[in-house]
Assembly symmetry: C2
Homo-oligomer: 247 residues x 2
């Protein structure tokens, strides 16, 4: 759901950026200027297609989406789950061609930011440019944590890590409650994100539930024991950079 307020389109984005550094009114105005009319996208539909050459970047206002790559055998690997306030393809501003696709995992609302306007923004607002740059840098940091989880953690640790990450990222944009958040994703989506089979994901979720660490039903996750969850995940939130340090 979009937060109420004078700038509903960019409220989550501003929330997130403001946790890292002060965002001036002029910068907020500049951000609002680059964003176009919000649009709805149905769950399951591609927001950006693989190998596309977008002329704009897209801000996710509400809902969940995912970066993914398709494989020749019909398989799919999700490389990041996006939450409200994320620019889902900001990197296409400079990459030009998408190296992956972005699919709406649920019904979403998105807003376009034309590349022409974003380039102009980088010419006029160096500090805001650095804040947007930082956002893509954190994407890379998230990828690295996923690599560590995939390469060296147990399946259970990997799942636990994903839950920790999503909880904190949703919290940063005011989309989670106290040790509780909506996550209306199927286990098949989780499997594609974790690089596991759906069967195994089911067993892992059951295991975390059985240990009394989380509850997960009806598309809502409840963290019953944050300490144990973080322990299983070996979670260290540094990479999400939720501290305020001027750039």
């Amino acid at each position: 759901m979009t937060k109420p307020g004078p700038q509903p389109k960019i409220a989550t984005l501003i929330d997130k950026l403001s946790q890292r550094d002060h965002v001036s009114p002029e910068e907020i105005e500049a951000l609002r200027d680059v964003l176009g009319t919000p649009q709805e996208v149905r769950g399951g539909v591609d927001i950006v297609k693989e190998h596309a050459h977008p002329q704009q970047s897209t801000l996710l206002i509400s809902g969940f989406s995912a970066r993914y790559s398709s494989l020749s055998d019909g398989g799919r690997q999700i490389t990041e789950i996006n939450v409200p306030g994320d620019f889902i393809d900001l990197h296409s501003l400079l990459m030009k061609q998408m190296d992956h696709g972005v699919v709406a995992l649920t019904d979403c609302v998105v807003a376009p930011a034309p590349h022409v306007k974003l380039i102009a923004l980088t010419e006029r607002h160096p500090h805001l440019t650095r804040l947007l740059w930082l956002d893509t840098i954190i994407d890379a940091a998230i990828h690295r944590q996923w690599l560590v989880a995939m390469g060296r953690r147990s399946g259970l640790g990997h799942l636990a890590h994903l839950i920790c990450e999503l909880y904190l990222r949703l919290q940063a944009v005011g989309q989670s409650g106290r040790l509780r958040f909506d996550l209306p994703l199927t286990q098949a989506v989780l499997a594609d994100a974790l690089g596991l089979s759906t069967v195994h994901v089911s067993r892992l979720v059951t295991e975390l539930r059985g240990e009394g660490v989380i509850n997960w039903s009806g598309g809502q996750v409840e963290i019953l024991d944050w300490h144990r969850l973080a322990e299983i995940a070996e979670f260290d939130a540094t990479y999400l950079r939720l501290q305020n340090e001027p750039v």
Copy 2:
């Protein structure tokens, strides 16, 4: 080895950036201004420590280094292998705290770029800033490919993909011959990069050799059958963004 020329320090970096967009003489001058005196680092030594708060970023001039994260059980996951011309911790400019370490895999030569000077650069050179931004964006794209390889490819495909990637990245900075390049890394390092055991890496290398796809001995890789190698890896070079498209 450092390339000969008037700007030996930044020759590889300029090579790489120039493949993506024109770099003006003023921009080259600005880059040279931010870089300090090159220093040698012995193989095995950390160039940047995990959780550090660097006051400068570091350009890799020669040698190989790797981003890595340590685990509580003593294990290690390498998340990227850096080649000459790579800024190994450019993201620390905005992240402030390192979310991982960088270790010299071989003897290296590196040059520091103080954050204060880099920030000043972003204030004065928007276009060059975008080129540096793009470099960190490509790091993220490399991470994503590793995620796909780790999550959904076979061990053999994963190894093949890494070889394809390193070959093209070294080629982009003039550090590889015709289907041949130096890669003085141990199989233990490869194992930490692929998320496999050293034993299994040995078997995979043996398999690729046995199939007549590559030769690998004396720290040198020779690609005997690029087509088959790319096929095994399902390799698509888009993500390395080696095309010239102005940003």
